[in-house]
C-alpha cells in the first residue's frame, strides 16, 4: 500500500493505468469523459486520437494481440460508447484482453434519457467478459484493478468500465492496494486431472495417424515451443486454425498449415483420415469442422482447452484436458513416447502430390495480377518476418495461404467475428506495441473504406506502416459466394472506390499503384524505403476466387478445388 492522498476519480483512473503498466491508450474525448481527459495531461501515458471510436477499440485490440498485454481504449458516453461495440465484440470472439473505459452521464441522471446517455453496460453485457458501472470516486481504483485482472486472467477478454461524470469529478483518498485481486466467484484457473493426462498420453502413443491442431490458445499461452516438442517427439503433423497460424512455424516439415473452409484439400483430407486429433487451444469452430456429422469420424479426440464451457460444445471428445495449454503440455510432453510415424507422413505427402501443387512463382508472366502473387511476393520480399494485419474476406484467406508465418503474434486478424474494417486500426495498435516491427496491413477495397479515416491518425501520430489494398472492385468474398451459390447474381457487390493513391496523398502519406506482377518488387521496395506510411493500390484480377473451399455445412473432404493452376500454393 502507498500513502493515502486525495485525488479525483479522474486522476485515480490514470494512477491505476500507470500502475498497470499502460503506456498508450486509444481514444476520443467527449462531454462525459472530459474530467478524465483533463487529468490525463498530468500522467505519462500517450494518447492516440482516433477518428472513430471503433478504431480505438480495434487499436487496443491490435496492441493486445501484438504484445500479449492488455489494450486500453477510451470513449465518451452515448454514441462514443456505442461506437466501441463492434470492436468489443471482435475482441470477445477472439478472447483478446482489453479494458474499455467509457464516460457516463452523472449518476443522478442515469435512467433519465439524459443527453448522450446510453446504458452501455447493458448494451455490452453479452459481448464483454465482464463490465462495471462506477458511480463513486471511491470505486474507480478497485473496479479498474479488477477489470485489468479479469481481462488478462484465464481465457482473456474485453472488460468495460463505465464511469459516471460525478465519479470522475468527486475526490477521495487514493490508496493503491497492490495485493492480488480476489474475486470470490471468479475461478479463471483450471488444471487437468492426472488420470485424464494419462489417458491422453495413452491415446497419443497408440495412435498411428494423429494430427495436432494448433489454435489461438497456443498463442495466448505462449506454448509454441512445447507444441513443437510434442510434434517432433511423436512425429506428428500440425494443422492450424486461422488464429493459430505462426505459433507452429509454417516452414517446419511437420507443419500442415491452415485447415478448414479454406485450408488445403490434402490437409482436410488428412484430418478426415486421422485416427487421433489433439486439439490445443481451439474450439472446433464451424469454419474449421464443416459438417459435424461427417467430421473426422475415424478419429479419437483429445481437447486441451482453458474454458470448460468450450468442451463438448461442437464436437464430442474422448478426453478433455481443461486447463492452460502450456501447463497441460508440460505434463503431456515428457510422458509421451518418442516414436516415428513414417507411413502416416508418407500418406499425407502422397495426398499433397495429388492436389497438384504448383509453384506460382514458376508460372510465366501473364500480364495479370493475382492476389495470391501479391501475398507470395510480399512474403518473399519481407522474408516472412513482417507483422501482418489482415482484414476480412478473400485477401484474408489468401494471406493465410500464401504468407507463411513462422512466428507467433505476427499474424493479426479478426477470426471469430470477421470484422471488416479491423485491419487498418488494429495495425496502428500493433505498431505501438511493436515499434521495431515492419507492419503490413492487408485489406480489401471494401474493408479499407470502412475505417480509412484512420489514415489521418497515422499521419498525426507520424507512424510508419504499410497498407496493401487488394483492390478487385468487388466485395470479393460475397461475390465469390454469389458466383458459387447464388447463380452468379452479383447483388450489391460491385464497388466503386476513390483513387486510393490520391486518398493517401490527401492525408500527407505516400500513394502507390501496382497493376502487373512485374511491378510488385519495385513498388514494395519504394514503400519500404519511404519514411512515411505508404498505401499501395494493388489492382488485382477482379473475379478471382479463394480455393479450395468447403461450402458452409458441407463435409470437410468435399471441397471445391482450384480450377486455375496459376493460383496454386507454392510449397517447393
Amino acid at each position: 500500500m502507498t500513502a493515502d492522498t486525495k485525488r479525483t476519480g479522474a486522476q485515480i483512473l490514470w494512477e491505476v493505468l500507470v500502475r498497470e503498466g499502460v503506456e498508450v491508450v486509444f481514444g476520443y474525448p467527449g462531454g462525459a469523459i472530459m474530467p478524465a481527459y483533463d487529468a490525463m495531461l498530468q500522467y505519462p501515458i500517450r494518447h492516440v486520437l482516433v477518428r472513430h471510436e471503433q478504431g480505438a477499440a480495434h487499436m487496443a485490440d491490435g496492441y493486445a494481440r501484438a504484445s500479449g498485454r492488455v489494450g486500453v481504449c477510451v470513449a465518451t458516453s452515448g454514441p462514443g460508447a456505442t461506437n466501441l461495440v463492434t470492436g468489443i465484440a471482435t475482441a470477445m470472439l477472439d478472447s483478446i484482453p482489453m479494458v474499455c473505459i467509457t464516460g457516463q452521464v452523472g449518476s443522478k441522471l442515469i435512467g433519465s434519457d439524459a443527453f448522450q446517455e446510453t446504458d452501455i453496460t447493458g448494451v455490452t453485457l453479452p459481448i464483454t467478459k465482464h463490465n462495471y458501472l462506477v458511480t463513486r470516486a471511491e470505486d474507480v481504483a478497485p473496479m479498474l484493478r479488477q477489470a485489468f485482472y479479469v481481462a488478462r486472467s484465464g481465457r482473456p477478454g474485453p472488460v468495460l468500465v463505465d464511469i459516471t461524470k460525478d465519479a470522475q469529478q468527486g475526490s477521495t483518498s487514493f490508496v493503491w492496494d497492490d495485493r492480488p485481486v480476489r474475486l470470490p466467484g471468479y475461478r479463471p484457473e483450471h488444471k487437468p486431472r492426472a488420470e485424464d493426462v494419462q489417458r491422453a498420453v495413452d491415446l497419443l502413443d497408440a495412435a498411428e495417424r494423429p494430427v495436432i491442431f494448433c489454435g489461438h490458445g497456443v498463442v495466448a499461452a505462449g506454448a509454441g515451443e512445447l507444441l513443437r516438442e510434442l510434434s517432433e517427439k511423436g512425429d506428428i503433423p500440425v494443422a492450424s486454425t486461422l488464429l493459430g497460424l505462426g505459433s507452429f512455424p509454417a516452414s517446419h516439415p511437420l507443419s500442415l498449415g491452415m485447415m478448414g473452409m479454406h485450408g488445403e484439400a490434402w490437409v482436410n483430407q488428412a484430418i478426415q483420415e486421422a485416427d487421433l486429433l489433439v486439439a490445443l487451444g481451439m474450439r472446433f469452430d464451424d469454419r474449421v469442422t464443416g459438417n459435424l456429422e461427417t467430421y473426422a469420424t475415424r478419429a479419437k479426440k483429445i481437447h486441451c482447452e482453458l474454458d470448460p464451457a468450450e468442451v463438448q460444445k461442437n464436437v464430442r471428445v474422448d478426453v478433455a484436458l481443461v486447463g492452460d495449454v502450456g501447463e497441460t503440455l508440460r505434463a503431456v510432453v515428457p510422458a509421451a513416447a518418442r516414436r516415428e510415424r513414417r507411413a502416416w507422413l508418407e500418406r499425407i505427402r502422397s495426398m499433397k502430390g495429388a492436389s497438384a501443387v504448383h509453384d506460382i512463382q514458376s508460372m510465366p508472366p501473364c500480364g495479370r495480377l493475382y492476389a495470391a502473387h501479391v501475398m507470395h511476393d510480399l512474403w518473399r520480399i519481407t522474408e516472412g518476418k513482417a507483422l501482418v494485419v489482415s482484414d476480412v474476406g478473400q485477401h484474408q484467406m489468401w494471406e493465410a495461404q500464401y504468407y507463411k508465418h513462422d512466428f507467433p503474434r505476427k499474424l493479426i486478424t479478426s477470426g471469430g467475428l470477421g470484422t471488416m474494417g479491423f485491419a487498418l486500426p488494429a495495425a496502428i495498435g500493433a505498431k505501438f506495441a511493436c515499434p521495431d516491427d515492419e507492419v503490413w496491413v492487408v485489406v480489401g477495397d471494401g474493408g479499407f473504406q470502412m475505417t480509412a479515416a484512420e489514415l489521418s491518425t497515422i499521419a498525426q501520430e507520424g507512424i510508419k506502416i504499410h497498407v496493401a489494398v487488394i483492390n478487385n472492385g468487388y466485395l470479393g468474398m460475397v461475390r465469390q459466394w454469389q458466383q458459387f451459390f447464388y447463380g452468379g447474381r452479383y447483388s450489391a457487390t460491385p464497388m466503386r472506390s476513390p483513387d486510393f493513391v490520391k486518398l493517401a496523398e490527401a492525408h500527407g502519406l505516400v500513394g502507390l499503384r501496382v497493376t502487373e506482377r512485374e511491378q510488385i518488387a519495385e513498388v514494395v521496395a519504394a514503400a519500404r524505403a519511404s519514411k512515411d506510411t505508404a498505401v499501395i493500390d494493388f489492382r488485382v484480377e477482379q473475379e478471382d476466387s479463394v480455393y479450395p473451399m468447403v461450402p458452409t455445412g458441407a463435409d470437410l473432404h468435399d471441397m471445391i478445388r482450384r480450377p486455375n493452376p496459376l493460383v496454386e500454393t507454392s510449397d517447393s
Binding site: 453485457l125 470470490p184 466467484g185 470448460p308
Partner: protein, 182 residues
C-alpha cells in the same frame, strides 16, 4: 447425448445490481429456454440464491454450469439432477366457487392438501405448495369450475443432504435474523 429434460440448478450469486440480468442474458444468448427462475436472499449476508429450471440434455447442462461459473458474480452452481433434491413451488389459484360448486371445490382442495385462504361470494382462493406436477394436478381438476386467476412462484430447490450447506457455497456471515433464530 441424452434427451432434453428439465434440469434444476441452484446458484449462489453476489447480491449486486444487475446480477439477475447477467444470468438471464447468458441463458438467452446461449439459446437456453428458462422454464422458471426464482431469486431470494439466503442465510449468508450479501448472497442471493437462485433456482433456475432449464430444458437441457446432459451435455447442455454441463455447459450451462460452466457458463454460469464464467460469470464473475456467480459464487457457486449445482445441477441438482443427480442428487436427492427437494423441489417446491407455491401457487395461488382463484377459482369460481358459488353455490353448490363451493363444497365440491373445497373438497378437491382438501384432497390436494391445498389451503383455502380467501372465500368470497363468487370465488375462493386456494394456496398450494408442492412439486410442479402436484400443482398442475390441482389446476386440472379445478379448471372445469372456472379458474379466474393463477399465479405460480416457480420452483425453489434444496439438496436433502446435511452435507450440502450454504457455508460451502458462499463466503460471509449468516444474517442477523438467522443468528437470533438459532
Amino acid at each position: 447425448m441424452s434427451a432434453p429434460s428439465y434440469r434444476t440448478f441452484i446458484a449462489y450469486v453476489e447480491d449486486l445490481p444487475g446480477v439477475l440480468n447477467r444470468i438471464t442474458s447468458l441463458l438467452r444468448r446461449r439459446n437456453y429456454n428458462i422454464v422458471s427462475l426464482t431469486v431470494g436472499r439466503t442465510e449468508r449476508v450479501g448472497t442471493s440464491r437462485m433456482t433456475i429450471v432449464v430444458e437441457a440434455d446432459e451435455d447442455a447442462a454441463r455447459r450451462i454450469e460452466a457458463n454460469l461459473y464464467k460469470l464473475v458474480n456467480v459464487l457457486w452452481v449445482e445441477d441438482t439432477s443427480p442428487a436427492a433434491t427437494l423441489v417446491r413451488e407455491l401457487a395461488l389459484v382463484k377459482v369460481k366457487a358459488a353455490g353448490v360448486a363451493r363444497g365440491e371445490v373445497m373438497r378437491l382442495c382438501d384432497v390436494f392438501r391445498a389451503r383455502v385462504v380467501d372465500v368470497g361470494p363468487e370465488a375462493l382462493v386456494a394456496e398450494i405448495t408442492g412439486t410442479a406436477d402436484k400443482i398442475d394436478g390441482l389446476v386440472d381438476v379445478l379448471r372445469p369450475f372456472g379458474v379466474l386467476e393463477l399465479v405460480r412462484t416457480g420452483a425453489v430447490a434444496m439438496l436433502r443432504s446435511a452435507e450440502a450447506t450454504g457455508a460451502d457455497r458462499a463466503p460471509g456471515p449468516t444474517t442477523p435474523d438467522d443468528v437470533k433464530a438459532a
